[in-house]
């Protein structure tokens, strides 16, 4: 049984917002890369939406992180050690916050370049350079960094002595699965009016179902870890059990087939009634919003239940 005598670090709303936006950004970049490399020519439209989304989502992250610091203007101390006589880069591969600071910087470069590449005409010469194999390698490296940003935050919480956080190895994976699921929902919603994206939406929906299943398994493993450490009761105390219930519901939505994209050609052709089509797309938006709220809630419960 693990006994904890630590104090909470008071990582709260800024950190929650960062975990949410960073997760969606990394997930969107990774999915866009997969669509571009694995999918067909018709998936390219959604891949471009993914690259266009990943960077704006990321832009807020370093700002949120700096605002959470006690000394926001010293944000660069994460990268440069200013200890007198030891001036140089600050890097500890065993401290996820240190690794994460560097990867966030690096991923920012990749997300920005891919954003520019899609944003013609500004990126026209860029897209020429990145059109061939180099571009694919660039996307793969960016996707790996994106997956890291979407998941290392779970490791960061675990590499501590906090109750709940440090009692499990499942948080990194849990954050990753949820980021991918949330990004799939976000991209399919953003692509909903693109005629060529119809089949992509279908694929994103089936991917979302896999990710939801993966996340459910990881939630079970997370609880098994906590039960072994004796902190499960704390993780489910008071309101937290209810929040976990909502998270599970948000995962069951796509698994139950809700939010499945409808073939839209017939709506356009007028064979179905237009109001019915609008109602269907409205309810689909609600389901996708539910999935994204689940992504946010899961991080909320994990962050706050350990500290209060």
């Amino acid at each position: 049984m693990a006994e904890h005598f630590v104090q909470p670090p008071h990582w709260e709303w800024y950190i929650l917002a960062y975990f949410f936006l960073g997760g969606l950004s990394g997930g969107a970049y990774a999915l866009a890369t997969m669509l571009r490399l694995i999918g067909g020519p018709r998936d390219e439209a959604t891949a471009r939406i993914g690259f266009l989304t990943a960077f704006p989502l990321l832009v807020a992250c370093p700002i949120l992180l700096a605002l959470d610091l006690g000394q926001p203007l010293r944000f660069w101390h994460m990268l440069i050690d200013t200890t007198p006589g030891h001036l140089g880069p600050a890097f500890k591969d065993w401290s996820p916050m240190s690794v994460g600071s560097w990867v966030l910087l690096l991923y920012g470069v990749f997300a920005f370049v891919s954003f520019l590449e899609v944003l013609a005409p500004a990126g026209r010469s860029l897209s020429r350079i990145l059109s061939g194999g180099i571009g694919r390698i660039f996307n793969v490296v960016g996707a790996i960094l994106g997956l890291f940003i979407a998941s290392y935050t779970g490791v960061l919480l675990s590499v501590s002595n906090q109750p709940i956080w440090s009692d499990t190895w499942a948080l990194g994976g849990l954050f990753l699965a949820s980021s991918l699921g949330g990004a799939a929902a976000l991209l399919s919603w953003l692509a909903r009016h693109r005629p060529e994206a119809e089949s992509t939406e279908r694929r994103l929906f089936s991917a979302d179902r896999y990710f939801a299943l993966l996340e459910l398994v990881l939630i079970v493993l997370f609880f098994v870890n906590l039960a072994g450490a004796g902190t499960l009761a704390r993780a489910l105390a008071g309101p937290w059990a209810g929040f976990w219930g909502l998270v599970v519901v948000s995962l069951l939505l796509p698994l139950a087939g809700l939010g499945r994209p409808r073939p839209r050609t017939e709506v356009a052709a007028g064979s179905g009634s237009a109001p019915a089509g609008r109602a269907a797309s409205g309810s689909r938006t609600m389901v996708l919003a539910g999935v994204l709220i689940g992504v946010l809630l899961m991080r909320f419960v994990v962050i706050f239940s350990a500290q209060y």
Binding site: F5, V6, L35, S151, L174
Partner: protein
Amino acid sequence: MPEAVGFFTDTSVCIGCKACEVACKEWNQLKGNKPTFLDSFDNTGKLDEENWRHVAFIDKVPDAAATTGNGAAWLMFSDVCKHCKHASCLEVCPTGAIIRTEFDTVFIQQDVCNGCRDCISACPFGVIGFNELSGTVHKCTFCYDRLQSGLMPACAKVCPTQAIQFGPLSEMQKRADARLGTLRAQGNTQASLYGRDDKVYGGLNAFFLLMDKPEVYGLPNEQNAVLPRRNNRPSYLGILVTAALGLVAGLAAFRDRGDARRAEEAARQTDTTERN
């Protein structure tokens, strides 16, 4: 290089006068928190940015009537930063603000710290606190400024019962061994040394003689005295496996184009039949 210094805090002779708390605040110019009324003479509550020594009063009043040998009523415990050999706070600190000094103590450089609070999440003793005004974290400095001037830390200087002893670490360890021997010879079986050997975080520069199990004092026992980095490998492995499964899911969802097209057509057909 100066010798490694040590605190030997002997709880068996602590009388709970809190002179250490006061001397620490005087020297380090800590204003302290507003006093709170707790279950005992303890108005401090816990170690934090304003309290670098905290005298805990632990209620051990026996339920049964006192007989010879069970007269213990209160355990008094002057808590402080342990200055661990393998320090969790120093391990996670991303800025390099937390360092080991030439005196083998753990010190937070106020001009390097940026207030990320990762050390607070790591310290297994709940020692470090965050100060809103300075925007940085604070804890016992082992009176680094006094050490540099050849003075002993304020709390040890003022302690009237020698419950807080200060000196070279090796000498402190010898003194603690002798004290434990004396207590054992007097028939006390509960006394033990905490952090004297390397079983708790590789050894503590501020170690203790306790009169009960560590967890009674709010200290992790040997099994629970673990470093944050233990979770790196399994957590990253969890990510790797999840990422691999995510890639497989992506391949399954995005690749099988024939299947997807067939499903699309089938869905369109059923939809049309439903409408008709």
